[in-house]
Symmetry: none
Subunit: 249 residues, 2 copies
DNA sequence: ATCAAGTTAATGTCGGACATTATAATTTTA
DNA sequence: TAAAATTATAATGTCCGACATTAACTTGAT
């Protein structure tokens, strides 16, 4: 453990050093300094970083501040913290990468609200995908749609195939944020749905539309693809409304 | 609202209610106990909750634990915390709410990608707002737009006013997820932007469009409102591209 | 060699002191 | 009287030091 000595300035009185550091504000400073430390020490996933108290000394801040910063990172899934094992990196940290924690508060009555934010993202994703995809990605999308139809017509569980199909589209969009956002919104939706209703099987009726969607995307026709996706979203929404008993948004 | 003086009840003993809480373990317990407290006191959005130290006393835990719990809520956007103003509820808290932590990893080159996911959300938000808003909300939106224009024409910092304007629209949409998502995406965008470029002042040229947007929403014309918002988003995107030097998505 | 008991090094928690600051109250001044 | 400047105050922000807890490590006994 290289001990990454970033600050070896021998602060005779820890006061003056602090003064010139201009300790301003929140724990983001600490996180930023930590990012630099980690990069300097070339720590990777799984590596252990120094104990809180040493980090605190090194950065000339109190242990509480370091704690809060590390807890924030823990909440973001960037580090794990254990009693004796200390703090370990759980994900790559790079100084010019910023981890934005998004937290959605979902309530049981907000299935429709969740759907309402998913809808424009899905539509835009297919539109962008149609514009950005490479030829090969178009072929993959067509193939995935065929797989989905096959599984569906065979009467098997089509959800995994459906997931692969949509993943292919999101990948073709070239923007990983679409997939990240949509998938996690979807996870939240499912978590809410499962509590009262069990495993969701929504959208079965929309599967025959998927090959059409695939063709539109592969043809590069963003408008048509968006139209199809709109229909799909509307059908899912209608299904949710039927289950809940009425519109809510 | 009622500024909930839930704490003004002279806590002579303040023990009996909390004895059965049997504190143990991590800060989730504190959050749970706090949820119960908040529900009992019927606190709503905007209301203030007791100072950290009183909460700590009430729950028989140290102040640090309460702090960590409240900071976690702050990171989730559920409360806001200010020096003297104390802690206020920013979103509804309910015991059976599900908190879904979303974490997006953003990198410096993905400003445009971030914008790309924000765009459809903003457009849909104004469309829904136009459909759902009450008459009073429409008036508020118009007023906020006027404020924004006044600040802008006075040459002052218009960002706070801009934020209030968009908040009013998001609130009118009736779906808090729009605001939660968009705000946090925006925070991420700003965090990325600030590192190399400093405080963002993007979108100045779009301000004159805002009154038009406000009128469209207040009139209930979702299509027109969406059109204006599209133009606004396109202008911002063009600005970002001009800064970065080329399209990236 | 294996298991049990003790050691220890880290995080977890607490509480007190002080710093900082946004709001509230007060005084001053035009 | 009203606006502006000043002071007071109450909350969070930060630091520190002590102790609790716990899980990995060490040592010892069988």
């Amino acid at each position: 453990m290289t001990d990454a000595d970033a600050t070896s300035k021998s602060p005779t009185s820890s006061r003056e050093a602090l003064d010139h550091l201009e300790q301003s504000g929140d724990s983001r400073d600490v996180l930023e300094a930590l990012s630099v430390m980690i990069e300097r020490a070339k720590l990777g996933v799984g590596d252990r970083l120094p104990p809180e108290i040493e980090i605190a000394k090194k950065l000339n801040v109190g242990r509480s501040k370091v704690r809060e910063a590390l807890i924030a990172w823990q909440n973001m899934g960037i580090v794990t913290r254990n009693k004796k094992a200390g703090t370990r990196l759980a994900a790559e940290v790079s100084a010019n990468a910023i981890h934005m924690p998004l937290t959605l508060k979902l309530e049981a009555e907000s299935l429709l609200r969740t759907h309402a934010v998913r809808r424009p993202l899905e539509i835009e994703a297919v539109r962008v995908a149609a514009k950005q995809m490479t030829e090969q990605q178009g072929l993959i999308i067509i193939a995935r749609a065929a797989e989905l139809m096959a599984v569906y017509e065979a009467g098997e569980d089509w959800r995994a195939a459906d997931h692969r199909f949509h993943s292919a589209i999101h990948e073709a969009s070239g923007n990983p944020l679409f997939e990240q956002l949509i998938r996690q919104i979807q996870d939240g939706f499912n978590a809410i749905y499962e509590a009262p209703f069990g495993q969701p099987h929504l959208g079965q009726a929309t599967i025959p539309l998927h090959p059409e969607l695939a063709r539109a995307v592969a043809k590069g026709d963003g408008a048509a693809a968006a139209k199809v996706m709109e229909r799909i979203m509307d059908m899912v929404e209608a299904e949710v409304i039927a289950i809940l008993g009425g519109p809510d948004v």
